[in-house]
């Protein structure tokens, strides 16, 4: 049983191997994708599958549309505060808009407002922060922050999440946005579109893939470019998987039977035989 299990695993592996799938595609003129990646920008719909080098390797018989993408973190975004006059003054505090935070020496920090698309405009010759309408799918979030040292000389800082830190020469402090460091989960909400059919909606997370028409879709990675967020969905053909898992079943049963149940049974039989003789 153990050897048969190993054989099934081997055969399943060969049957699902990319080389055999490519060979079958050539021989039978079919277009089956063995393994690849689909890069889906938020709100876009397509069926193109790429290899890890970014080369297109084929198309799925249906389109994938990224409805929504979320990244969840264990930790909160933070602010790193430095005092240009005193290099020892370096703090990292989670961003909170509920009230001021106090540091050593009576320095007070308050996040006044959070913007989805922070722009600095001029009103009456003075720069002021404003929530502006940015290009669709390309928000430029930021914060307005007030810092007040004990001497009472207030400083207003504007910190963007996706831009390099800058600090005005007249400012005593320097504030930097620190993105959360510990991802908890990535979640893509996908819809599958096929001609003349109702779309199918599904959610793909790490460790929660989606099976559809012989393919497994899993959350591979994600990223952000000038166009905004994108999710990378892995696509794998499931050919040979049944044989592999059947082989695993045989292997598990075989090793348990051979190493555990057979010696146990022989031990029980011997014990019974001894009792019977006595």
């Amino acid at each position: 049983m153990i050897h048969l299990g190993v054989l099934f695993v081997f055969l399943g592996g060969i049957w699902g191997s990319p080389k055999l799938i490519t060979l079958c595609n050539r021989l039978f003129g079919r277009e089956v994708i063995s393994k690849g990646l689909i890069c889906l920008p938020l709100g876009e719909k397509h069926s193109r599958v790429y290899d890890s080098q970014g080369k297109e390797i084929g198309r799925l018989p249906f389109d994938l549309h990224l409805e929504n993408f979320d990244v969840f973190y264990y930790d909160n975004p933070s602010l790193i505060i430095q005092d240009k006059e005193s290099p020892d003054f370096l703090y990292m505090v989670p961003i909170q808009t509920s009230g001021p935070v106090y540091f050593d020496g009576g320095i007070e920090l308050e996040v006044l407002r959070q913007f989805q698309h922070l722009q600095i405009i001029f009103q009456d010759g003075r720069p002021v922060p404003a929530e502006e309408e940015g290009p669709p799918g390309q928000p430029d979030p930021g914060f307005e922050i007030k810092l007040r040292p004990p001497d009472g000389k207030e400083e207003y800082h504007y910190v963007w999440q996706r831009r390099a830190v800058h600090s005005l020469p007249k400012h005593r402090f320097r504030i930097q946005y620190q993105a959360p460091q510990w991802p908890r989960q990535y979640r893509s909400q996908i819809s599958i579109w096929q001609a003349d059919q109702q779309p199918i909606y599904c959610t793909i997370e790490v460790n929660r893939p989606f099976f559809y028409k012989g393919y497994l879709f899993y959350q591979s990675s994600w990223g952000q470019d000038e166009k905004g967020l994108y999710s990378v969905i892995g696509v794998v053909n499931n050919s040979g998987l049944t044989a592999v898992f059947f082989g695993y079943g045989l292997l598990a049963l075989g090793t348990a039977g051979q190493c555990w149940f057979r010696p146990l049974l022989s031990h029980i039989l011997k014990k019974k035989e001894r009792l019977y003789r006595n």
Partner: protein, 254 residues
Amino acid sequence: MLIAFIYAAMAFYGLSAASELFFRFKRRQILFVFAFSFSAAAWFLRWVQVGHIPLQTMFEIFLALGTLIGPMSFFCRKSLNMRDPLSIFADGLLGLCLLFHVRFIFSEDPRPLPPALQSWLFGPHVVVYMLAYVLLAKAAVQAAGGLSVAPLQREKQTYKLVCLAFPLLTFGLILGSVWGKIAWGDWWGWDPKELWSLACWLVYAAYFHWRALWGTRFVKINMWMVLLGFAAILCTLLWVNLSGLFTGLHNYAG
């Protein structure tokens, strides 16, 4: 508190090993019970501290291994009748060594569970491997002892221990593979840890084939094969994660 529990468990494991060497303590099982209790308490405290099953970092893995030594030693004494001084001494020493690493070598810093590890397969996959590793460490001790003293008797004990551990090793490999399919789309990823785990499995499979062929005719070769298997386990558990030579899907354990 956690550190105090680890020190207490180390002390009791050390005492149980010393009781075999320097003084004969009749109720030495009680030492294992105390060692296990303190070690298990430390492990559960760690669970509360990190908020997930603590089997992610080397600190947590070795703490769990140290905890498992007690019940496995008890099980082998009762079920396999392994009451020889070498076995009991080695159990105590092994527990002490594992917890020494927990306290003085590995970082105690808790780490949040990355998305890939958030699966129901995480616990079973690691636990079956750890049970297998503890049993195979005991088998290696018997094999090493059998090279010089009572080879036939120790060879039989070694065989029984490998028989107990081998299906667990197989389950670990299968569970990992199924998990790989769910998380990364591949049931086999040619990852260094996967390859070394397969190497361990193959060494013990070769041992079974060899023993089925020759029985106890070449006892020392049987023993050396078990020791080779344990060397492969050490590579899988320590070298792959700690050497920095291998990059792969199991790097979060380092």
